[in-house]
Subunit: 241 residues, 6 copies
């Protein structure tokens, strides 16, 4: 089984970290194809960045489909471009935010999300509402750590995230934590050990759920919003998209 | 007052029709700057098309800002790129879907939406939930009319839409109708006359609401998801975006 | 265009203040007809006061209809008598609470309301649920300022409201504020300047939205609860109502 | 125990019918004081009628309080003036709509409401949302029977209501029916027998629930919207209210 | 009228206390048949205990039915086994949690629940959502008092509960309190007196509501999930159940 | 990895069918331990049956824990006893209803459930609300096929289910179908082929999700309702439970 893990920003160190997380949890016989977008923003912090990240990410998905991918994972916690990707390919596609929420809902009645910046909160909250799982989420919190700070050795990012988890457990009544950024993927087990509750990394969650969907033989339903794109004039740099 | 009306697809006849609708309702002293995207899809029918429409649309918004626009209207009923646009500019931005829903909620307890294709329904439904107005919407219906058929003289598009409105009134208990496509902007008054209920065109609705926001001296809140984009590496065709 | 602004209590200084707010934002060619109820309570602080305010307010709406009003604005943040008014007239009617919520939802993902007394909170909260916009409102707060204190020069009312706004921004995650009383209409711009977020006055909001509905040629739907009153025996002081 | 049953319209035959329903279910030692408003509309069919019904109804509640009533029941399915009444008196007050919904929720997972006219549906629906019990209600249906037709011997009103109940059971999946008008109070047992499901009359339901509240020694909470009216200038026909 | 009050745990002192509460509020002519389960857990603190409490409780309900009970009250705030009981008998069945929520909703716009242990909160919260009354509940709080501590004279249980009520009134905006355990039944009037708000005991609430349902002649609807059990092989200790 | 699949009824042919479904999708290295309850009902059709099924099922879970199970799957679509099981063991536990809903939500925006009998609908609907995924479910439908008819070769059960699926696609706008009974596990692929949409079997779904949770190293959160049972007197046939 070949799982395509696409990092929709251009920062290769994030891709490498996500690949490592994916390989740790993947079952026997599962291979990970990890890519990042060829161009676009170096990190996705809000809807403006996301707008420019989607077209190059869709190119990666088309390439991976051609290379035989059985499923795709979008390694950005905003689930950037998830609808467009599901329209593009017949293979299952999972966002890491979506995956983290589903997994949390299977091990805890109520969870909180700890993400990077406050500006990311509204998109995550809106996604939770759309997926239905907002009723399971006590609160979406921001540790006020920029995405790329997670790539810097020795930054105080992990400490801040840990402090925010402590607040979530005390103030929100959360029973589990979902880490709200692909760049936090290496922190989950350590933070779970410190706090004594399930701490869920969306990358790992999405990879195992993608394997589940492939084993189940399921594909994205093509009735409705994820129907294949209609043929039409498409001009500009992505005209061949 | 200068209102920028951007058609995020590349079909100039739709831009012209939207401009005409805008000018009909604009107050004294309001000028309409109507643009369409320089490239991208000829129509937006689903999230894949939308993905490629957003970057060139954002370019138009930046240009119109520089030209002194007081507010922006996105003339696609999916409210394509609305979050990114609100992050980009400090001026008010309205989507025509959003505007249609708000206006309908001021003249009817319950409304239905009649859009083009079934594949558009999930995005519209998700927007309604996010805006909060899903509780006011009885049903989102598709007349199964392709977007560009609305541009063809003599097509049966208007008849099909009228039949779907009749069903909405009978089956949904709708008290008003929101037309779910920018290309339907010229049909609203006629259909309202036929059916004896308010029939709302999102383009006209958005223009008058944009005027309201400008007169109120209000700007988009920059706390949260619509905060200005952070400076970062942005490569590729929109690297200057 | 003639907009009728009715203050449903009997305090003329509130009417004058609301008229001033209305005239500041009205477009060219819009005239404001400002009235207050001929009798009833001096202020509306809870549902008991509201019960006695509605019949005389409806009389003002009927008179203004006869005088050629194109739309009506009810200048009480509880939207007192809004349903009855919409049944009475075919012209658009807006409550200032409703208008404030809609406008806030166009410039902020999440807003808080700051009203006068705690006893006003449940009605406002129930209105938000009914309108659908409760999902956009972080919290309805009371500054514990009586309505008529807003009419006293030199009272500390504005300070208390400003302090409550500060709490809303810190504690609720609000991105904008809706002022929850017609008597606060003169404070919006100053408070917006102090706090750096949109602060919305319902009176001004309702006047611009009423203008929008008139320009759009829309009338209240008469299917459902706002159907014209049925002819029947009506005795007592409002028997001619 | 003295239960005051107030009919907020002026039609004495409805009062008599409601009194009979109340006396049938009242426990030993409970007396029913049945009144109707001294003036106002002959029936309440929509929010305009309701506006004029509330002030005279509040007068009856004040009189009954003085006469030693232990609780009040408002015998209009719209729960007209319920908030104002709860502010006026410290004794428990129940609306017959509210009571019917609560009782239905104790004997059925899902119920439908069958009311008189379509124009009554939005108020009933909004009440259900406010009370929280909208999630238990499959649908609010109108049999299109005017309120006063229920007072005419030999009318086909009961047949129409029975047919609408049949539709509710077939189409809505309703497990019980709430009759949506005080004037239907004499029909509940017969319709329950015909259809083999619980058919709930709000008048009888409210009387037994009022008895329950009195036995429990409970009074309306005076924190919040039902706080006692504040002293203030109140002019006009209800100035002494 | 004979009301069967079943304590689904095996602690006879709780049964006695519940019986006393029931007899205090029961109307003239109502007799209380109080039972506890013949075996099972000594207290119900979480879903594991509840699983073992239900079969013996159902046996008590069958016995009481045979003895002529007109209605049943389940005296555990989790409403343990309520669905199974409603399927077993045609007589009305009320849970004390359910009853407490309904009664609170008739005297307060918003209430909080104060229960024993934090582990009880999720079940109570889920019940509130299912019943529809979650929208009326500000918060479910735990005083961290074990159930059986309520049976020990001189314990500090009542003090802790009182402190938690004080927090609910200050922090939650609650207008009334529902006591969240059958073992608190003797505390309601005292705590209501101390805090000046309605404090509701579910046992007393359920008994009066059960009387109401019996007087109304209503039985549980047998359409849907509460249909009588189907005949089938049932082996094991409850094979005769 | 050892996955324990427990059938909470006593019908061994259902266990065998569920085991076959599980083994078809399990990954390399996963072993399935399939058990059924030692006693209790032959099928679970409603909450009364469920009450007697839970204690013996919990015994199987304790035994499987002792035998080294890494996760448990409850093979009844009502998710019978899920909370009690999660309290009992530290290992992940999944219900097949829950699993089916989560998987459906990953491949379709909107799904319908097709279950056996109408009496099963309310429990499934309530579960959907509690899990949060009710917003993704268009409708829960019953094919009116008794559970054990699914075990009879040559019954028309599959045809009826297929007809109900056809109605779900036409009438509900469903984009995928979840089969609502463990006994339907062998039908999913055939029905998916016939109808051209994802048709999801909860047993297979739960097994792959259980594998995912094990690979992720996650355990059920023990904060809240799934905390380990407290030591206490437990008498009767399950006194050792």
């Amino acid at each position: 089984m070949l799982i395509h893990l696409v990092n929709p920003n251009t920062t290769a160190s994030m891709t490498a970290k996500a690949r490592a997380a994916a390989e740790t949890v993947a079952g026997p016989g599962t291979r990970i194809l990890a890519t990042e977008s060829a161009h676009g923003p170096a990190s996705i912090e809000g809807p403006y960045d996301a707008a420019f990240a989607v077209p190059p990410m869709l190119a990666r998905i088309a390439e991976a489909d051609a290379a035989g991918a059985d499923a795709h994972v979008i390694a950005c916690f905003d689930d950037t471009g998830l609808d467009a990707a599901r329209a593009l390919t017949t293979k299952p596609v999972l966002g890491i935010g979506e995956a983290g929420f589903h997994v949390a809902a299977m091990v805890a009645e109520t969870f909180s999300v700890v993400t990077t910046l406050g500006r990311a909160v509204p998109t995550i909250s809106a996604n939770l509402v759309r997926y239905g799982l907002a009723t399971r989420c006590a609160r979406v919190r921001a540790a006020e750590v920029p995405v790329l700070a997670l790539e810097e050795p020795g930054s105080e990012a992990c400490d801040r995230i840990s402090q925010e988890i402590a607040r979530a457990l005390t103030e929100d009544g959360a029973q589990a934590i979902v880490l709200g950024c692909a760049g936090m993927t290496d922190l989950a087990r350590r933070l779970s050990h410190i706090h004594g509750v399930p701490v869920i990394d969306g990358v790992a969650a999405a990879v195992t759920l993608a394997e589940a969907l492939v084993r189940l033989g399921l594909k994205t339903s093509k009735i409705g919003g994820w129907a294949p794109p209609l043929a039409k004039s498409m001009t500009g740099p992505y005209g061949e998209g």
